[in-house]
């Protein structure tokens, strides 16, 4: 990954206003560079879900304990472009005991075919599917549908309580026919 491929990178606290500003900025940038309309919309859609996922996750956390060495309300957001793909990467701390559930969900999404993802989306949307809390589950499925590629992820251990969770979604720059 070369530095000039990066459209935007941010590390810090994530507020609703910040999410709005990033969306606006990246949208203007895509607009200005005359990116294909369909690609632009997909990138924007995936970006909205990725950023809002992180925002909702951090927003739901209790206030940070000052004695906590892990800045659990801090996130990493990065958007960039390579020859074939746009990539959207988010990173945030998660409690280790949440990892099995997250991992199972991501693996299930990554294993699903296009048709299965559609079915999964409808099940979660109508609340008839496997137990999913809120709309966070829907967000991940939507990202996978719009991306059309496997979601990349990693859990990097920080200490006995936390890991750093990173998620990468890619959107092809070549509009499918």
């Amino acid at each position: 990954m070369q530095l000039n491929n990066i459209i935007f990178v941010y590390q810090g606290e994530v507020t609703a206003d910040l999410v709005s500003s990033i969306l606006q900025m990246v949208e203007n940038k895509l607009e200005g560079e005359g990116e294909d309309r369909k690609v632009k919309k997909r990138v924007f859609n995936v970006m909205v879900e990725c950023l809002q996922n992180v925002y909702h996750h951090l927003d739901a956390l209790p206030p940070t304990d000052p004695s906590n060495p892990v800045r659990d309300k801090t996130a990493l957001l990065m958007i960039g472009r390579e020859e074939k793909d746009y990539f959207i990467i988010t990173g945030n701390h998660v409690l280790n005991d949440r990892i099995p559930d997250l991992k199972a969900r991501l693996d299930r999404i990554n294993r699903a075919s296009k048709e299965e993802l559609k079915q999964l989306y409808q099940e979660v949307l109508t609340g008839t599917g496997f137990s999913e809390k809120g709309t966070a589950g829907l967000g991940m499925i939507d990202i996978a549908r719009k991306s059309g590629q496997r979601l990349g992820y990693d859990f990097h251990p920080v200490n006995e309580k936390y890991s750093f969770f990173s998620l990468e979604a890619r959107v092809s720059r070549i509009p499918e026919k």
Partner: protein, 124 residues
């Protein structure tokens, strides 16, 4: 009943619910963090309207983008319209989308498959 008009913002759509003129529209983009908060007024209005609706209700949706939390709220709106339809009222949902926007066409088809109410896909 009182009309409901909500002006659009960079994250929320324009809403026109006018029972006097028979205009029912949600257009623009819908990507608020708190979609439930935004759509509460809309759902309340439709709930009230459905008690004594016009002979025919044609509800237009034309969304450029929407996030997944909005998608749940849209389903709630569609369910209310579906109930009106099942109660014998004439209701049609018109899902407008830009003709080259396959994703939005597909989303419309997804909803169409889930609902038991006239649901037209309108490429523009």
């Amino acid at each position: 009943m009182r009309n409901l008009v909500i002006e659009p913002t960079s994250k929320t759509p324009k809403v026109i619910l006018n029972a006097d003129l028979g205009i029912f529209e949600i257009t623009g983009r819908s990507i608020p963090e708190d979609a439930i908060g935004f759509y509460r007024k809309v759902l309340d209005w439709i709930e009230e309207y459905s008690k004594n609706p016009l002979p025919e209700t044609a509800f237009k949706f034309h969304l450029e983008y929407f996030n997944t939390s909005s998608s749940k709220c849209l389903l709630d709106i569609f369910r209310k319209l579906e109930r009106m339809h099942k109660n014998g009222h004439k209701v049609v949902i018109r899902w407008h989308y830009d003709a080259d926007d396959e994703d939005m066409a597909e989303t419309g088809q997804d909803y169409q498959a889930l609902l038991d109410v006239p649901f037209e896909l309108v490429p523009v």
